[in-house]
Symmetry: C2
Subunit: 240 residues, 2 copies
Amino acid sequence: MLSHHIVSAYDDELKSLTLRIAAMGGHAERMVDLALSALIHADLALARKVIADDAILDEAQREIDTQTISMITRRQPLADDLREIVGAIRISADLERVGDLGKNIAKRAFVVGHSLDRMSAIRGLEALVDLALTQLKDVLDVYASRSVERLVAVRDRDEQIDAIYTSLFRELLTYMMEDPRNITPCTHLLFCAKNIERIGDHATNIAETIYYIVTGEQLPLNRPKEDRSHVVTVEPHSPA
Amino acid sequence: MLSHHIVSAYDDELKSLTLRIAAMGGHAERMVDLALSALIHADLALARKVIADDAILDEAQREIDTQTISMITRRQPLADDLREIVGAIRISADLERVGDLGKNIAKRAFVVGHSLDRMSAIRGLEALVDLALTQLKDVLDVYASRSVERLVAVRDRDEQIDAIYTSLFRELLTYMMEDPRNITPCTHLLFCAKNIERIGDHATNIAETIYYIVTGEQLPLNRPKEDRSHVVTVEPHSPA
């Protein structure tokens, strides 16, 4: 029999793992939020901060990897706890990638500069980031609360993200056709939009992982189709 | 003491895991190769095949996840074998994502159509795919042979991929400025190029995982910087 002391130390380790994931999640959310702000306001000092902050997530992921491997080796966990530990490995990989995508948005602030001012596309980007961050925040709340029934809302929101992304894609192509000077900034905005859409996908991955941790089953939702931007075509026409 | 019988059954399980990863790798390589072919030749039947084939990788990843969790639970492996198992989880996630990226390229064949014929950009895309697939093939060979000293070449090639990607990015922007009819197809080609560059990144991830499996250490290579496309600007000028 394990003594109470050992069991409780194990629980503490699982709890510290959960807290680390939550901290990574909060950090990733902030990075994406600040990256968009840097992009919109051409705030290059802020962009530099976001770029530098990505190292914190990389380090956090490495620490979680080390901690989880050590826990499996020392504790030889059985099914439930093992799902918890393997789940933490997966979620931290998704969050690390969200940080990369945020950093990539921040980097584009240097090229897009002030060319954003006259574009309504920025409202589309803001709407996209709002949805993706709500998505991320919600799955992290479910990770803390284990209320997996709330994961259904995540799927519906992912469909909204895809719809906004596809319409933004079309809008940006139209701007590019109206004026060749828009081509460079709009191309970078297209990649920013794609990054945000990917952040929504990572939130969906995390939702699937949480469901697996809690139930041991695959999430019984049909994963929504990928966005429809790959079929978007816009034909040139004379500017209005 | 474990009987010889049990130990050997365990070795067989590890071997079957390694073979499954190798099979996933071969499948992912083929998907990317055929996706580019579908794109270049506007071969929509081939594109549909690539899109359908992605399900095989998704299923393979789920099977590997189930197998690995079951192995950890039943076998309670110690450090070396645990690295092997956790490594398999990571590599299969990278390969599944390579398949997604290949599928996304195939989907764009429907929009790009025959507009590729007159573009030299296609040579850039081919060069990019050649490098990324060589990269993937090489890391999968190292996975089979465990000759980790060969992983250094992987880093150098990733730098070449980034350089070609950045130059292709600039070239595609130039085409877009020359003729607004190029904007839609070139935008989709930009995303194809980005997908291929990401495949190179996944190969680098796999290289890092293999090094970790074999040595228990982080790969002592400075991960190359991300591509430089995020700083590319092209100014409009009168067509020649």
